[in-house]
Amino acid sequence: MTSHRLTMPVLRNMPAILFVLAFALFSFLDPRFATFTNFSNIASTSSFVGLVAVGMTIVLLTGGIDLSVGATMYITGAVIGLLLQQGVPMLPAIGAGILAGTLWGCVNAFLVAWVGLVPFVATLVTLTMGRGLGLLITESRTFILPKEMSYAASSYLGIPLPVIVFAVVVVAAVVFLRWTAMGRQIYAMGNNVEAARKAGLNTRRLTASVYVISAFCAALAGVILVSQQGMITSGLGQGVEFDAIAAAVLGGTSLFGGVGSVFPGTVIGVLLVQMISTGMVYLQIDLYLQDMVAAVVIFFAVLIDALRMRLLTRLERRNIRVEKGSTEVETAPSSA
């Protein structure tokens, strides 16, 4: 019984513990790792995946999935590139790009909430079609961006702009999920759609919103990434859905809906993934091995998560009798 007191908090906070362990390991292996510059670098490079992952988390909470985020990023970038080429000033071009990306999310919302397609299929379609659309309007050209577009390299009070954008979106998402009716209703719907419908919630509108939110986050991520890379290529955002889903799941968000959080959950997940890839660069691990190592790490983290959930349900099961010699009734963390 006493050992349970210890295991419970450990299991609950596994993502955070993994994060600290990985940080300690890399710092030990290479002293250059634990510097502010490096950390600020990690945060900066992970913010575009982070933005996508925040939107993805909200979609996952409803039990859905959004595979089209990479295409949304590309559409955003393509629109920005085309407009800049036409001589449109920077800010209106960015605004139009974000709008275009968000509109692409409305297609997902329509397909899932009104046509009733399974999210996996609907967003797989918009993923392929979105990239095709981007290629069509850009004729697969690469745009080299003017110098003024490298705003992502700027920083305020020593904090890089992408990190600020990421932080603002995280705060907004946390407030949205925890403190607004709609946020709580998203959790409710992820837990039991039928009950949500019977409780009078507008499940169609809720479902539609999460895809629009996800697309908006992806569009923002597109703007950040374009600026960081200084150009817009046809491969923009390719494969980002895997990183975003992995980060959310690493942070404890369930693929079945109803369980998960943006902070600390997904934020830790994103930083963990980025820290591992940066760490491998520091340790000069063979470039060709890095993808495999990253995949193995994610595999183990998700595996540990599955084991953790199984153990948690077992530990939290109610006892029906109190054994002699034990004063404890059930598992009462407050008495610890």
Binding site: W179, N191, K198, A199
Partner: protein, 503 residues
């Protein structure tokens, strides 16, 4: 002169061309408690879903206070002051009690869409006080017992200040004490002038709390009037359309001498304590206990779903070291779980697919392992006939379209197809109507006569008294007593079961 608050007028409803309600006309008097009874599939739930705005009606109309009432969704019903406590609980287990109570109407802080958690908590506390539930509103629903969850549902219904409150089978997962508490609350609501529609299969309860009764059969209103016009027998007669002479079939066999399943001093910390049990061939052994007595937990251990710490298990006299469902099924054991929706059925699959699931390994060709579908098909047909499962086309109809009683027969049929030598059944007649109950009892008797050892777990003592050769009484994970059929005594058994609670 009567004061009608709600009138159903010639209500019609059909699902996929099959009529479920035909010309139903009922007047409900203001401030009364109306018991709505009928067999599963008689149309009670559909009628209430129409009232609650969950499904639209096809024909006829509803009049609320004399005015046309046509809800488009559950929100409209809310606004009209109609609260619906559904049979299957509609709580979000990942949210707190307070969040559940106000999920469709969170108190806001000012004009911004930010919720006011302080007011939320305060209002939740008030709502919980109405149902005497002394739990913090910040507790997540997943940590509550079934009874506590039911009370949260009631609190939720009360929090919208309803005029008409529908209870759909509210007591199926409640302990005796929780049921009493619920009746106390219903009584208080009644005195406060609320109109209540109470749906239940437990006719004794309907007789006790209702002022008026309406009986549905096959989608039609067959009897209605003040409760004094009815007796339990006349209600049953109206429900099934004929007199039922007996509720339980005569037992046609005696237990054999061989022991099929034996437990010796089986213990599991926090769950079971030194359980001794011997189940004979051809015996129907009842396990009775109050909610939370450890009956179902014991069944899970026996079937290998949960492990145990100490003790021995013998199947057909052979000690078994480790129990697992796969091995148990191979050894001829079958387990009809208490929760057919979650654990017992694939709701979206056909009746045939559900029935044949456990028996598929027995119907495979040698070496290539493919399923002999014609043999499966004939086994399915036999099973549908033997259990008289009412289904249009077993190979095409989905299980979720069946009534509760027929769904339960499918679960039972699935395991009977494996020709088990040991059958564990947990609450096989919960939420099942009188007619289907009798058929399930007959099936139990038939397989016991064929030599199957049956472990019959139930919280309805009456059915155990009617069906079992022997009854074990459990409480707090222990066996508190055992009664032979000759010494069955309802009072003595109840006293034994309550022992721990009285002390």
């Amino acid at each position: 002169m009567t004061d009608t608050i709600l009138r159903f007028e010639g209500v019609n409803k059909a699902f996929f061309g099959v009529p479920v309600l035909e010309e139903v006309t009922i007047d409900i008097e203001r401030g009364s408690i109306v018991g709505l009874v009928g067999e599963n599939g008689a149309g009670k739930s559909t009628l209430m879903n129409i009232l609650g705005g969950v499904v639209p009606l096809d024909g006829g109309q509803m009049l609320l206070d004399g005015e046309t009432y046509a809800p488009r969704d559950p929100r409209d019903a809310d606004r009209a002051g109609i609260a619906f406590i559904h049979q299957e609980l509609n709580l979000f287990t990942n949210l707190t009690i307070a969040e559940n109570l106000f999920i469709s109407d969170f108190p806001r802080r000012g004009p911004a869409p930010i919720m006011d958690r302080g007011r939320l908590r305060k209002r939740a506390k008030e709502a919980l006080a109405l149902v005497d539930l002394a739990v913090s509103p910040d507790v997540r629903v997943e940590r509550l017992s079934p009874g506590e969850r039911q009370l949260v549902e009631v609190a939720k219904a009360l929090s919208v200040d309803a005029r008409i409150i529908i209870f759909d089978e509210p007591t199926t997962s409640l302990t005796t004490r929780e049921t009493e508490r619920l009746f106390g609350i219903i009584d208080r609501l009644h005195q406060a002038g609320k109109t209540i529609i109470y749906i239940s299969h437990i006719l004794r309860d309907v007789m006790r709390i209702a002022d008026a009764v309406a009986v549905l059969r096959d989608g039609q209103l067959v009897a209605a009037g003040p409760v004094s016009d009815f007796s339990i027998n006349s209600m049953i007669a109206a429900m099934v359309g004929r007199e039922i002479e007996q509720l339980y079939p005569d037992r046609t066999s005696q237990p054999g001498p061989e022991i099929s399943l034996e437990l010796r001093q089986l213990s599991k910390a926090g769950i079971s304590h030194q359980i001794d049990l011997a189940l004979h061939k051809g015996e129907v052994l009842g396990v009775f206990g109050l909610m939370g007595s450890g009956r179902s937990e014991l069944a899970r251990i026996i079937f290998g779903l949960d492990d145990f710490d100490e003790g021995e298990v013998l199947i057909d006299g052979q000690p078994v070291k480790k129990l697992s469902p796969t091995r148990n099924i191979r050894n001829g054991m079958a387990f009809v779980t208490e929760n057919r929706r979650e654990d017992g059925l694939m709701m979206e699959a056909t009746v045939a697919d559900n029935l044949s699931l456990a028996a598929l390994p027995a119907h495979r060709r040698r070496f290539v392992n493919t399923v002999r579908s014609s043999a499966v098909a004939s086994a399915v047909t036999d099973s549908v006939d033997a259990l008289s499962i009412k289904v249009h086309d077993a190979f095409r109809s989905e299980v979720k379209g069946l009534s509760g009683g027929n769904q339960q027969k499918v679960v039972l049929g699935k395991w009977l197809m494996t020709k088990p030598s040991i059958l564990i059944i947990d609450e096989p007649t919960r939420g099942v109507d009188v007619g289907a109950k009798f058929e399930i009892y007959e099936t139990i008797d038939r397989i016991a006569a064929a030599g199957t050892a049956v472990l019959f777990i139930s919280s309805e003592l009456e059915e155990l008294l009617g069906m079992c050769d022997r009854i074990l009484v459990m409480g707090q994970g222990e066996v508190l007593g055992a009664f032979e059929r000759a010494q069955f005594d309802e009072e003595a058994i109840l006293r034994t079961a309550f022992r721990e609670h009285v002390a």
